[in-house]
């Protein structure tokens, strides 16, 4: 009784809106009740048409549920419902129109609708059609996205129709591009396919290539003579495009030749036939060469105890009797030719972009080297002081950045604080080093080198003692994450752009300081002739100290920048020291522009060598260094050499 009452109320609820609106999903479905309950490909069309005419928002959801066998029918009144959980009993039933829970129902009173696979296919494309015509832009975009992910032939006409009526211009563009891609894959019209393939000649997107590549799939075949019905990709000659072994294996696989015994099989047969320590008349102990084993095997063949060996001559003969070729799976040569031409033109363009990308990579590596080396360009290049502890000043900068981030949790603020602080600390360290050590070793460059080595060893170990051996994080602020993506091939990470900008800023700043300020004038005077400068009232000691501090301070700032993308360890600086010296030496000592040229050359060259052998960046560094050693032979003074007396030894 209670159940009857509940059903009655349910029916009332379901019918209520129908009477009010006259356009109700349940109402339309009940109109075509039989077509829903026993759906078949023949009877479903009028229902779909009625649904399309109704323009109800709930239709796509219903079709999707129906396709996935989630629609149930009440046996009592023939109404259709969704179930919240089909495994429960009693089940909770849900309205197909509004998605409201309508109460519970005994499970055995419900019947699941199970459309067959033909119907499900029709439903799927009908669903897409509904979604593509949906008034909501979001739904249409999602439908297009779904087709992009997994398209089939049925989508093509639907999408074509939708593209014509699409009001949103962005989506319309996307749809018509997708139509072209689907045309390549699914169209029956060969001319249209060829024309579409050709229209993509300047498009470097990955999806175009993934649409074209399947057209050029081949299969390797062998036959006594070349068949003329196939779409031939190329002839293969055993021993040239593929090995004779592979060719023979292909013949065996196609049943055109006898299988061959390999060495392992031969040895297995020999072992099987060991009798009293002898095989085929030969003592086992003599079988320690390939020839002896072959002889023993031939003996077994003569005795009829083993199958005959396929000899090399046999292999050669059967290879000669057959032709080998690759044929396209696509039968139409017009399409494969067009696809080849288009892919060729695309790959030319991709190569061009890849070259640009490589150039940008090289540029960013160059700016890293420049940043690491520019401090050295002042201390080594301008002052002529070999400071092997320069790398440790870079390390000081990086650790400063790390410590500041521990105190100031906001990444942007901490970087802004860390940059000047790193400069100050490294400046102080540089001045201390100059005052205590380097000043006493002027004009003794090798001793300077040794003493600063000592400092380098000590500072590295100190950093290890304080911060431990594990890498410390120096996190970049969020606005430095991500990349600037220009197209599918060219992209640069923001952090590299920032480093490039920083390198440029330092170049400008140093050039300005050295050429436009009083301090720069004095530095140049002291560098050229300290005694003359001193007689002009310049204090060379003070200038040397400040110059060295400046170079070291810049190394500190470089340390913060490098720490943002590399791991901050005590070995951070020493990883860059050799490259930095190389940069200065290759560029030409005594000249900031030279350092720029050196960094540019080393950076782009290293990327180029990496590109030649992408699997192996270690080898790239090896070849790079060898190249530099040879380069120094031809331009011992670097790319930009100072001329005149200032250049003296």
């Amino acid at each position: 009784m209670l159940r009857f009452l509940a059903t009655f109320i349910l029916v009332l609820c379901a019918l209520g809106p129908a009477q009010a609106q006259d356009q109700n999903l349940q109402y339309i479905l009940q109109d075509h009740h039989k077509a829903v309950e026993r759906a078949s490909r023949k009877t479903i069309d009028p229902l779909l048409k009625a649904l399309a005419d109704g323009k109800l928002p709930a239709v796509p959801g219903f079709l999707d549920a129906w396709r996935n066998k989630n629609v149930w029918m009440s046996k009592e009144d023939g109404q259709f419902y969704f179930l919240a959980d089909p495994k429960a009993d009693p089940v909770e039933i849900i309205d197909i129109e509004t998605g409201e829970a309508l109460g519970t129902h005994a499970r055995k009173g419900m019947k699941q609708l199970k459309p067959n696979s033909g119907v499900r296919t029709i439903l799927a494309s009908a669903l897409v059609e509904f979604q593509l015509k949906d008034p909501d832009l979001q739904t249409r975009t999602e439908a297009v996205l779904a087709i992009e992910r997994g398209a089939d032939a049925a989508h093509l006409p639907l999408l074509q129709a939708a593209a014509e009526t699409e009001p949103n211009s962005d989506l319309k563009l996307r749809m018509s591009r997708l139509v072209r891609l689907l045309t390549i894959r699914f169209s029956k019209d060969t001319d249209a396919r060829i024309a579409t393939i050709k229209s993509f000649a300047s498009d470097t997107s990955v999806d175009v290539r993934s649409a074209l590549n399947p057209l050029l799939e081949t299969r390797t075949n062998a036959a006594p003579t070349l068949p003329d019905t196939i779409n031939l990709a190329r002839r293969l000659v055993p021993g040239q495009q593929f090995s004779t072994d592979e060719a023979y294996d292909l013949l065996v696989k196609q049943g055109l030749a006898q299988p061959r015994q390999d060495l392992a099989a031969r040895d297995a047969i020999l072992i099987e036939n060991i009798v009293d320590g002898r095989v085929g008349d030969a003592p086992v102990s003599t079988l320690s060469t390939e020839e002896a084993r072959d002889r023993a095997y031939q003996k077994l063949v003569q005795l009829g105890q083993a199958p005959a060996l396929v000899t090399r001559a046999d292999v050669r003969a059967s290879l000669d009797e057959h032709v080998f070729y690759e044929e396209y799976l696509e039968p139409d040569p017009g399409i494969t030719t067009a696809a080849l031409a288009t892919l060729d033109s695309i790959s030319n363009r991709v190569d061009l972009y890849a070259t640009i990308d490589l150039g940008l990579d090289g540029l960013s590596l160059a700016s890293i080297y420049f940043l690491a080396a520019i401090g050295l360009a002042i201390t080594f290049g301008v002052m002529g002081v070999i400071n092997m502890a320069h790398g440790e000043f870079i390390m000081i900068g990086a650790y400063t950045g790390y410590v500041v981030q521990q105190v100031i949790p906001d990444y942007t603020t901490s970087i802004i604080v860390a940059l000047p602080l790193a400069f100050i600390l490294a400046f102080a360290a540089g001045v201390a080093l100059e005052r205590s050590v380097i000043r006493h070793l002027r004009h003794r460059p090798l001793e300077t080198l040794l003493a600063t080595f000592g400092v380098s060893i000590a500072l590295q170990q100190l950093a290890k003692n304080i911060f431990g051996t594990q890498a410390r994080p120096l996190t970049a602020p969020a606005w430095l994450d991500g990349s600037w993506i220009i197209n599918d091939i060219i992209s640069i990470s923001m952090i590299r752009i920032a480093i490039f900008a920083l390198a440029l800023a330092f170049l400008g700043l140093l050039i300005f300081i050295l050429t436009k300020t009083r301090f720069g004038l004095e530095v140049r005077a002291v560098t050229q002739n300290p005694r003359m400068a001193s007689s002009m009232g310049i204090n060379p000691e003070r200038i040397n100290m400040l110059t060295f501090g400046l170079g070291s301070g810049i190394a500190g700032i470089a340390g913060v920048a490098i720490g943002l993308f590399a791991k901050v360890t005590s070995e951070l600086g020493s990883a860059y020291i050799v490259q930095s010296f190389m940069t200065v030496v290759v560029g030409g000592v005594g000249n900031i522009w030279g350092t720029l040229a050196g960094a540019g050359m080393i950076g782009s060259l290293q990327k180029f060598i990496e590109w030649l052998n992408p699997s192996n960046t270690l080898a790239a560094q090896t070849y790079m260094i060898i190249f530099i050693i040879i380069f120094i032979q031809f331009r011992p003074k670097g790319i930009i050499a100072l001329k005149g007396r200032a250049a003296g030894d």
Binding site: T289, I386, K464, L618, A619
Partner: protein, 389 residues
């Protein structure tokens, strides 16, 4: 002129006597042949130290006498070790492979043995075939020749390129550092054919000498190292005391003047550089069988820098200075970093020598460079002079 070479160089006699006495004492105290006071591992350390002394001697030839500061001498040291290591590893693996294949039904062919050796050695870097450079690894004679030849050719090429274009001073030092960095980076790759960063291992097992205990082997290697050090010491002292040595020292003091006098400075420098590289390689070939393992990290620039530090502390330009420096600093370093040195508790902080030794060494080295540029050897000179005065 009538006085003999040894009479003119009493320090050589003193040195040889000290070396002989040292070797004899160690032998008597050893586990292998003596009373067992010194452990085998300590004797190996002493043997290795002698090899390092030999390398320091070789560096002193180019740096102290010829003025070429090489920051890449461990490239030659390591190459020598790799060359002998290839034979040691190959021959040892061959023994293992042959004994493991002894029980298969068919006696193995030479190809099968070679394949198995390849798999055994290169399995760790995902390879199975012996690379080209291992073609001669089965022959001790050829590998011994290669110990001399490979570093010699490398030094010749490098030196020829560098000296020809008059690269000198710090530039040359940085280039030599770049050379050893390049070599170590190259060897770090797995497809360099020398097992990448795994290096060669098990070198302490001398093939064909399974019955000789490690204790005895360590003494034999100690003798070998001492013999090499002694002979190269005499040879170096003899060369450097003659006319050739004067020319070399003149290059150090003023290269241009010597050039104006008509000397072919470049070939002198090249000769000294190559000879020094070869001596270093021989030291390496004696060192690594005692160390047992060699990997590319051994060739990293820092190793060569330590060698320079030893020579500088010992006092360059004196053969005994280099030897004393290497022996003193390397032994004391391994004592401190080996954790044997007592920690110093300060109440608020305990100074652990494992952590602080390098700081001390670094700053100490700065002090030596600043205040005692002649090193420990300079002190010896002063003492001798005061006595004779």
């Amino acid at each position: 002129m009538e006085r003999t070479f040894l009479a003119r160089n009493p320090s050589v006699l003193v040195f040889l006597g000290a070396l002989a006495l040292f070797t004899l004492t160690v032998t008597i105290l050893s586990e292998g042949l003596g009373i067992g006071f010194l452990s085998t591992s300590f004797i190996k350390t002493l043997g290795k130290t002698l090899c390092l002394c030999l390398a320091a001697l070789a560096l002193d030839l180019v740096w102290g006498y010829c003025g070429i500061l090489s920051l890449g001498h461990f490239a030659f040291f390591g190459l020598g070790g790799y060359m002998i290591g290839m034979w040691l590893m190959y021959a040892r693996t061959e023994e293992i492979v042959v004994s493991s294949l002894a029980n298969v039904p068919l006696p193995p062919t030479s190809e099968e043995i070679r394949d198995a050796i390849g798999t055994q050695i290169f399995g760790v870097v995902g390879g199975a075939e012996l690379p080209m450079i291992w073609s001669f690894a089965d022959s001790l004679t050829i590998q011994l020749v290669l110990v001399v030849l490979v570093p010699g050719i490398l030094a010749f090429l490098f030196g020829w390129l560098a000296f020809r274009s008059r690269v000198s001073g710090v530039y040359l030092s940085i280039l030599t550092q770049a050379m050893t960095l390049a070599l170590s980076l190259y060897l770090f790759q797995n497809d360099s054919g020398l097992r990448g960063n795994n290096g060669l291992s098990g070198l302490q097992n001398l093939p064909g000498a399974e019955n000789v205990s490690q204790a005895t082997l360590s003494i034999l290697f100690l003798w070998g190292s001492a013999l090499a050090l002694g002979s190269f010491y005499i040879a170096s002292a003899w060369f450097m005391s003659g006319k050739f040595g004067s020319a070399i020292r003149a290059i150090r003091d003023d290269e241009n003047r010597l050039r104006y006098l008509g000397y072919w400075v470049e070939s002198y420098k090249l000769l000294v550089f190559v000879v020094s590289a070869i001596i270093t390689a021989i030291a390496g070939a004696l060192y690594y069988p005692q160390a047992g393992i060699i990997n590319p990290a051994e060739i990293a620039p820092i190793a060569s820098i330590y060698l320079v530090v030893w020579v500088a502390i010992g006092g360059r330009g004196r053969l005994y200075g280099a030897v004393i420096g290497a022996a003193f600093v390397s032994l004391i370093s391994s004592w401190f970093t080996g954790g044997q040195a007592p920690d110093i508790p300060l109440g608020f902080y305990t100074i652990k020598w494992v952590d602080w030794w390098l700081v001390l060494l670094g700053f100490g080295f700065v002090l030596v460079t600043l205040y005692a540029p002649k090193g420990l050897g300079g002190l010896v000179d002063q003492l001798v002079r005061r006595k004779s005065a």
